[in-house]
Symmetry: C2
Subunit: 224 residues, 2 copies
Amino acid sequence: MADDQTLNLAGPRSERTRLKRYHWLAKYDQDTINGIIDTGIVCQVGYVIDQQPYVTPTNHWRINDYVYWHGSSASRMLKTQQRGIPVCFTVTHLDGIVFSRAAFNHNINFRSVMAFGQAEMCDEDVKRRALQCFVDRLAPGLWDYARKPTEQEWKATKVIRMKLDEVSAKVSDGLPDEEPEDLATNLWAGSVPLGLIQRPPVPDPKLREGIDVPDFVKNFQYLK
Amino acid sequence: MADDQTLNLAGPRSERTRLKRYHWLAKYDQDTINGIIDTGIVCQVGYVIDQQPYVTPTNHWRINDYVYWHGSSASRMLKTQQRGIPVCFTVTHLDGIVFSRAAFNHNINFRSVMAFGQAEMCDEDVKRRALQCFVDRLAPGLWDYARKPTEQEWKATKVIRMKLDEVSAKVSDGLPDEEPEDLATNLWAGSVPLGLIQRPPVPDPKLREGIDVPDFVKNFQYLK
């Protein structure tokens, strides 16, 4: 795992984001962190209401050093977060299963980011620009193509953002790390890689006749 | 989306797990909930330390009506959770991107479970049986094949469990749900399905010569 450390261009940004367990998997450089965030479409946002932890999966997107998520103006999550409460933002990609010689050493390969910060409700102007970025992030050109939101639709949506300040990544892409005596056995070890793939577009059955699949869908690539 | 409701065999188990937003996506029946949990290898566990929310991605597995996760005896997460604090457990699968005619209606298809409960540290006996289930859950027969844990390895691992009591699922597998005036336009709409696939096993470069890929790896299927 020593090779992993060559990517650590920067140290942890706070005590809270310093990886204590499996610290050799830690990455603190911006390219690694942004890459993991940008490859994901779903994040998990943790927050507290009356001492109770909540974790909500939601879509996210990044603009410079902020991550954004949106939701209905009436949602409990957004109503709570707009008060500026502490949040924990995570993105996790599962990359494979590691089969080891020792039962104790079975593991998974993954990439994850964890960030701590304060939720911040975006004002109307930031919100509108951020939502346009979100739609264009799904597919470049989609905002121009789609029917624009009505005033009522704009009002129904809120956008929360969080500054990427206290943030760390964890990347496990190795093969089994085993005891010398296990390596000497006749047991098999290795990994089974897992990854997301996309399948061909499925047209809406309500699609009117003669509408071609637009380029932004033809060229859509989940993994850029 | 009305069809989704035919799967709702039971109502929400608490006010906290009653879906308020997009309530027509809610599922409260055990088969749907267990299916989503069992298809996932990585969950997100939310908990609170000094008012600060933490969300930790970790491996999980289910035995009857409990979900389990494990970690190093020295980990901050497990040290905190063994006190029996409230946790929020979530599993999320991304199934696709929904492209709509209206910018406002873009969405994703997904399956998620959210459960609230108390973390409970397993005693030595439950821990050992639970970890055996975890290894065999990765691949049936793996526990028998692998080198068993030493006493030191057993000591280094703790297992936390949580009863699946207050739990709900949310399943979005639809196509765009749009306004009649948008359906009448010449804009394309549909979805791009996404899914996890597995690739052929990669042997450990340190594998001794002449060791065949065992059946449990040959037959490994991430999605049962």
